[in-house]
Structure formats: structure tokens, C-alpha cells
Subunit: 139 residues, 3 copies
Amino acid sequence: MHYREVQTASEYVARLETGADWRGEIESLAAEVGADAAWFTALGAVQDAELWFYDQDECEYYPIEFDEPLEVASCVGNVSLLDDDRFAHTHAVLSDDEGVAYAGHLNEATVWAGEVHMRVFEEPLEREYDDTTELDLWL
Amino acid sequence: MHYREVQTASEYVARLETGADWRGEIESLAAEVGADAAWFTALGAVQDAELWFYDQDECEYYPIEFDEPLEVASCVGNVSLLDDDRFAHTHAVLSDDEGVAYAGHLNEATVWAGEVHMRVFEEPLEREYDDTTELDLWL
Amino acid sequence: MHYREVQTASEYVARLETGADWRGEIESLAAEVGADAAWFTALGAVQDAELWFYDQDECEYYPIEFDEPLEVASCVGNVSLLDDDRFAHTHAVLSDDEGVAYAGHLNEATVWAGEVHMRVFEEPLEREYDDTTELDLWL
């Protein structure tokens, strides 16, 4: 169990821009407010999406693509530093016109509308390579 | 990118009443504590549900109805003012007795049990009509 | 509507240990930081999972088992006291290699990687038996 106490420096609500990239918008928000570590939850809708699934045997992500309008029923993630850049690790649950849910690691998606709550931490979080999972993990 | 820094004025945990409406209960909580802007996450179970999917071509919501018990595996949303009333914009992920997930914009659902964490912001949030999406958006 | 104002005493980010139990790790975090009441959101991936669905007629949980790697697309829950022990009430949305989502009350799951944000409340929360739902509810 690796954990760290954090202090919230500031918090924000944001509306993501229609037509922009969902994860890019969250990273832009982090950049604008100078957040090197943050936690967010969000909801909204997208025009398309690319989810990633991590193959735990191959230790590789592979993409699952959706070319249709989807609700963003849930989005949870965090901002940390990865190779000195701000990276928004973003998981999402999407749903189609029949209410069927799809979910995973959200790589990209074109925003239709998005509402985000982000809390920014005083302490930076940095990702480093983990041998066991071959993922970049923090702490 | 539209965003606003917010200050948390107070935070609450609530248990939603069995038999009441899920979204109505969240709006009642907001009314009782005088919240004109808030962010919440929640979990629980419902006895039925009406999800809405937004058709991005027609710019209209249409309903998807479920007449069976469902878990509320995730619920994320916010409270803001819409035409001077408090509106709880609520997205949810539901699941049935085989674990299959359904999701979308939650219009109504009869509470079986529900647990909510709500943080209330000092600054009000107000929704206004957006020409591009034909949705009522804030900021 | 039962609700209580809470004060956040402290907040934490944690990385769950690969190979450990997802819910057990969250309860360990609560124990290590002395949290008798907390709210958390999380994301990550697991190697298997047991979800529980609550049968509202029989008033009994029954398990749904998954023996495959799954993303944790969303996880929302809280920590409270149940018979004097810390209990992490945990709901999760999981997804498979085709992006299909499964969800429910998460009893157990073997962590592949997990990232949690937990806010600890000053006021304890205690669960007590509720006659209507036959669940242990707080407030």
C-alpha cells in the first residue's frame, strides 16, 4: 500500500469545449491553472471515442474505437507528471442510444458537452515505470 | 475552455429515502442546505429507472426505460440554477442481475437505497442556452 | 432525507498493490490513516472480480463472478463502521477487452493497478440494520 496525504490547493469547475478532445481539454485546464497533480470527476457526451484496454499478458494497450455519439455517464481520473508533461489518466463509462454501456481507459474523444470538477493538490505526483505491470504508476 | 475557481462552502453525506425519486432527493438535499451550486458522487440501488440519451443530430433527449431493480454502480453530477430552479444534472451507471451495465443521463428512478457525497460551492452556477448543442450549459 | 454535514479532516491518494484485494486495500488505507468515515473514488484494472447484485425481493446479495482481466472504469464508495469494523462499501464499473461494461457492488477483485482518492471525515459514520431494505445503512 503506497499512499500520500495531499492538501487541496484549489478547485475548479470547467465546461469542455464542443469539438475539442476530451482528455486534451482536461490537460489544458491543468496547464492553465498550473496543476501538476489533481483529481477529477466528470460527465457529459462525446461525438466519438477511443477507449484503450490493457492486455495484462502482453502488457500492452490496444484501442477500441467508437464512431457514434455517446453519453459520458462517468469519468474519473487524475493529473500527474509523466516524462515532465502533464498527463490526465482518464477512465470513462460511455453509453449509446439504447443505454448500453462501454467503458475503459479513455485515450481520446470529441467533446459534445462536458462538465468537470477538478481539485488541485499542492504536492506534485510523478509517474514512473513499474516493472511488474509495465505501466507508469505513481507513488 | 471555460472554467471557474470555486470554494467549497460545506459538504454533506446523505442517505436517499427508499421509494422516493433519486434525482428529486438530490434536489431536496440541495434545497435543504441552500446549495445553488454543488458537485456530487453517489452509489446505491433503484427499483426502476428512466435514462435519457441525447440525439446530437436532432438535438433532443429521448428516454430509455427500465422496469426492474438495478444497482447504481456510479452516479456523478452537479447542481446549478436552471430558470431560477435548482437542477441536479445527474449521470448514472446502472447494472442488472447479470452485472450488465446500462448508463446515461438519469431523469428519474425510484430509490431502493442511495448514498451521496455533495460538496456545496460558494459561487452559484447558472445554466444558459447554448446554440451549438441546444443544451443548457453553465459557464 | 437523512443527511449530515461533514468536515474533511484529511485527504489521500493511494496506489493499490498489484495482487492484493481491491476492497481490502481500501480498508487497509482507512485503517492506516485511522479513518472511521471516508468517501472515495478510484480507477484502475483488476485480474478478476466478484460483483454482488442485491435481489430486492429476496433481500439477499448474490455473486456474479469474472475470471478475466478487466479495467476499473469507475469506482465510487465510502468507509463506515459496521459492527465496529471498517467497511468499504464499494461500487464499480468494470470493462472487458471489447469495452463491454459490467457493474455492481464490488465484493472482491485482485488488483492489477489501482489509483484512489480518499477524503476522510471528522465525524464517524455507522451502519445499522434497516428493516425496509434489510441492508445496513448509515444515517
